[in-house]
């Protein structure tokens, strides 16, 4: 476990260093890059030099940058004239809502479909399989557009954009969650079907268990192992997908912030978003590791 934490810290350090190196290597003057498209006055320039210590040797700059990060100081956006930490703090809520809702949708759909269709007739499995394939192969923004035109523009059930109330969350969460449901559903069903063919499933049936009880009490846990491993992958998909989904549905959130920062060349914000994604990724994969150990005690060795 200590090894795992060490690896996590190392990933964060590499992410921080990589974005710092990117800043230094970017063509042009570092001050220009940090200002980006923001207001450019001699006072602001002097402020940047002071904050980033650009008048000191590069190694001191780098160390003080790490030192500031360690204290949670993510720097300042010269375009938005606000602290980066502050910007992220106000935007993290809607994004967390969206990604969590999407993950929950994906997991719930995948679970239900897999449990209902595992080991069943060819038609049911074929239909589920086809639906999964479509949801995986169609890009999320297209799913979003279809959902919007059907449920918002035509039927008017859900708001077209914004983040007011739970109703506004439904379509974005579906758009982001469906591809996850597709992949996860296939993996779960595959895992369930493999588990149901194992000798222990015969033993369990021979105890008088119903098929449903066999799936929920025995097979599901076996199927969860590959699914949890896969969950690490969809953390990345969720974070990346959130950018597109937020823009598409006009939702506030980190995606919007990142999008604007990249197009406006607001380097401090971009760097902070990179770090935050790395931190989220490290946290989630550590949690998933723990989950794997809890599900399969054999992993401890």
């Amino acid at each position: 476990m200590i090894k795992r934490l060490g690896a996590g810290v190392a990933v964060l350090w590499v992410a921080a260093t990589a974005s710092y190196v990117a800043l230094l290597l970017a063509p042009g003057d570092t001050i220009d890059i940090l200002i980006g498209d923001g207001a450019d006055t001699p006072e602001i320039r002097a402020g940047i030099v002071a904050e980033w210590g650009l008048d000191r040797p590069e190694i001191v700059q780098y160390l003080s940058y790490l030192w500031r990060l360690l204290h949670g100081d993510l720097g300042r956006s010269y375009q938005l004239q606000r602290g980066v930490g502050e910007i992220l703090a106000t935007q993290v809520g809607p994004t967390a809502q969206l990604t969590l809702a999407a993950a929950a949708t994906g997991v719930a759909l995948a679970g239900v479909i897999a449990v209902v269709t595992a080991g069943r007739g060819r038609w049911l499995r074929g239909a589920a399989s086809a639906a999964e394939l479509v949801s995986v192969s169609v890009p999320p923004f297209l799913i979003g557009i279809v959902l919007l035109s059907v449920f918002s523009f035509t039927l008017g059930w859900f708001p077209v954009s914004g983040a007011q109330g739970p109703a506004a969350l439904v379509l974005p969460a579906l758009a982001l969650g469906l591809p996850i449901a597709g992949v996860l559903g296939q993996v779960l069903r595959g895992g369930l079907e493999r588990a149901l063919e194992q000798p222990f499933a015969v033993t369990a049936r021979a105890r008088g268990l119903t098929e449903r009880a066999l799936v929920t009490r025995h097979a599901l846990r076996h199927a969860l192992i590959p699914a949890v491993t896969l969950a690490g992958w969809f953390t990345g998909t969720l974070l990346g997908g959130a950018v597109i989904t937020e823009v598409l549905f006009g939702r506030p959130g980190l995606g919007q912030v990142a999008m604007q920062a990249v197009t406006g060349r607001d380097m401090p914000v971009v760097m902070a978003v990179v770090l935050l994604s790395a931190a989220v990724y490290v946290t989630i994969s550590t949690l998933l590791d723990l989950a794997c150990r809890a599900i399969d005690p054999r992993i401890r060795g």
Binding site: F200, A204, A206, R207, G208, L209, T210, H218, R221
Partner: protein, 545 residues
């Protein structure tokens, strides 16, 4: 949610409580049972009856339909199966009219199932306590509050020491014997009148096998009927009242155990009996019973020798001060139970692993502690045959490519040599184009032998080469090895947990326990007059007919 507590009348009808006198008549009576999968008949007209307290054994090779028969008796023939019978009585009721719920009520309650290898037959992710408690909850055998206590009683009853600690463990944390006991505990948890045991001791060490058979015999003595399924007549000999010999989905012979074993009427039964390797079969061919020529070991030509070998994994000493010699044309048997260091010794002999101390020589030249570059030219001299060839074959390669791999021949001559090798091991030329998965277990082991013979080795290290095979297939592979040895004078290191096999084949034997050699010598001497207590225990555990 699946807890079933049916109306009392129904449960009485099932004979649910073992404390009541059993219903009159057979527990189970099937007439002309036929099971087919997609048009292919697997069981073809089997009739069987089991009386209360009786032990009936079905013996046959894999593919004979015996396992399908066992499962069909619990309504578990599986998806895609069609089951027909002219009569199918279970506990005095007509099973042909059963729906899924009727079957579920019987499973575990009327009959418990014990499968092979508890490592996979118990849910590996759950504790054995939870597995046993599941039966209690499904059939509502005892009130919820008493379940835990009952689990411990059951573990105690099957001879698991320290049940309170064991109940919280998972199959992989237990030894093979303990987890098989736990599996039996789960099968008898609802006190069934019948135990169906499908190869319950296969893959277990001989001493553990003897313990499990005693445990089953104890249940039988307590009045539980037993249906025992095995490929090995010797295993069922000590416990069965009646034996049914099954072949290609049909019963070819049936009778009291003593009669079937001593005066078999059918050729197939005879062949099965003759196929069991033992002291008596020494010097004969197992498949035909004809005498075979043994190569005369050449004591002046030492091919492989290990001196004071030791090897540890972490702090565990797996091989401890082992020395051995092997001469041209000789067969050195190595017996011992799992964990005794046999396989590590094989890896040392093959120089896949270097000993921590001690040395190995091949043809009187240094073999251990060499750089791989120096070792490589010598590698063809010593080859391996492993227990499960499927694991050692690249599944995407054809048999031809697998056999050709170790050959250092120009392409033009390679194919002829592959076909020649396949012919030597009794495989038709067409086999070269097939993939290992399409072959039967015996055919795969023949391919493994062909591949090992390819480089014309002086030493063949055989690590449990027949342990995964049925007796009849085992007999063919053992005969093949003996023939090839006679022809080429190859020396064999033959590792096995099966004393009968070693007694049949080997000249000398090492008995290993906990990494040490506890006894060694001429195989007849060691097995007929064992001196070490451990060897005595091993010899005493061998099932006898």
């Amino acid at each position: 949610m699946t807890t079933y507590a049916g109306p009392p009348s129904v449960r009485e009808g099932l004979g649910g409580s073992g404390h009541r006198p059993p219903p009159p008549g057979p527990l189970l009576a099937v007439e002309d049972l036929r099971v087919s999968f997609g048009g292919a008949d697997v069981v073809r007209g089997l009739s069987l009856s089991i009386a209360p307290g009786e032990c009936v054994a079905i013996v046959g090779e894999s593919g004979s339909g015996k396992s399908v028969t066992a499962r069909t008796l619990l309504g578990l023939a599986g998806p895609g199966s069609t089951v027909r019978a002219s009569a199918f009585g279970v506990s005095g009721r007509d099973a042909l009219a059963f729906g899924p719920a009727d079957w579920r009520r019987l499973r575990g309650r009327f009959a418990g199932l014990v499968l092979q290898d508890a490592l996979v037959s118990l849910d590996p992710l759950r504790t054995i306590g939870a597995e046993i408690a599941e039966v209690l909850s499904v059939h509502d055998v005892v009130p919820r509050a008493r379940r835990e206590e009952r689990v411990l009683e059951l573990l105690e009853a099957v001879g698991v020491p320290d049940p309170a600690a064991r109940a919280g463990q998972r199959p992989h944390q237990l030894s093979g014997g303990l987890r098989q006991r736990a599996l039996i505990a789960s099968a008898i948890a609802a006190d069934p009148q019948l135990i169906i045991a499908d190869e319950p001791t296969t893959a277990l060490d001989v001493t553990v096998q003897a313990q499990i058979l005693r445990l089953l015999a104890g249940r039988k003595a307590a009045g539980t009927a037993l249906l025992l399924i095995s490929h090995d007549l010797a295993v069922v000999a000590s416990i069965a009242d009646r034996i049914l010999v099954m072949k290609d989905g049909q019963i070819v012979e049936e009778g009291p155990a003593r009669e079937v074993l001593t005066t078999p009427a059918h050729d197939y039964t005879n062949a099965l009996l003759a196929a069991v390797p033992s002291a008596a079969s020494r010097g004969t061919r197992l498949t035909t019973g004809a005498p075979r020529t043994r190569p005369t070991p050449n004591p002046s030509a030492q091919v492989l020798a290990g001196t004071a070998l030791a090897r540890s994994y972490g702090s565990r000493r797996v091989v401890d001060n082992v020395s051995f010699t092997l001469h041209e044309g000789e067969t050195l048997g190595i017996v011992g139970e799992s964990g005794s260091g046999k396989t590590t010794l094989a890896r040392l002999a093959l120089a896949l692993l270097d000993p921590d101390s001690g040395r190995i020589s091949l043809h009187q030249r240094q073999w251990s502690h060499l750089r791989e570059r120096a070792r490589r030219p010598l590698r063809p001299r010593i080859q391996l045959i492993s227990q499960n060839p499927l694991d050692s074959f690249d599944p995407r390669h054809t048999v031809g490519r697998l056999v050709a791999e170790p050959l250092r021949l120009p392409r033009a001559r390679r194919r002829a040599r592959v076909l020649d090798l396949l012919d030597r091991v009794g495989l038709p030329p067409e086999t070269a184009a097939r993939h290992p998965r399409e072959l039967s277990g015996g055919q795969r082991q023949r391919v493994a032998v062909a591949r090992a013979l390819g480089p014309r080795p002086d030493v063949l290290v055989c690590d449990e080469p027949v342990s995964a095979l049925d007796v009849s297939i085992q007999a063919q592979v053992l005969d093949l090895l003996a023939d090839l040895q006679a022809e080429y004078g190859t020396a064999l290191v033959f590792i096995s947990h099966d004393l009968g096999v070693v007694h049949h084949l080997a000249d000398r034997v090492l008995v290993m326990k906990d990494g040490r050699v506890v006894e060694e010598g001429d195989v007849r001497e060691v097995f007929t007059r064992p001196r070490h207590p451990y060897t005595r225990a091993l010899v005493a555990s061998v099932p006898r007919m």
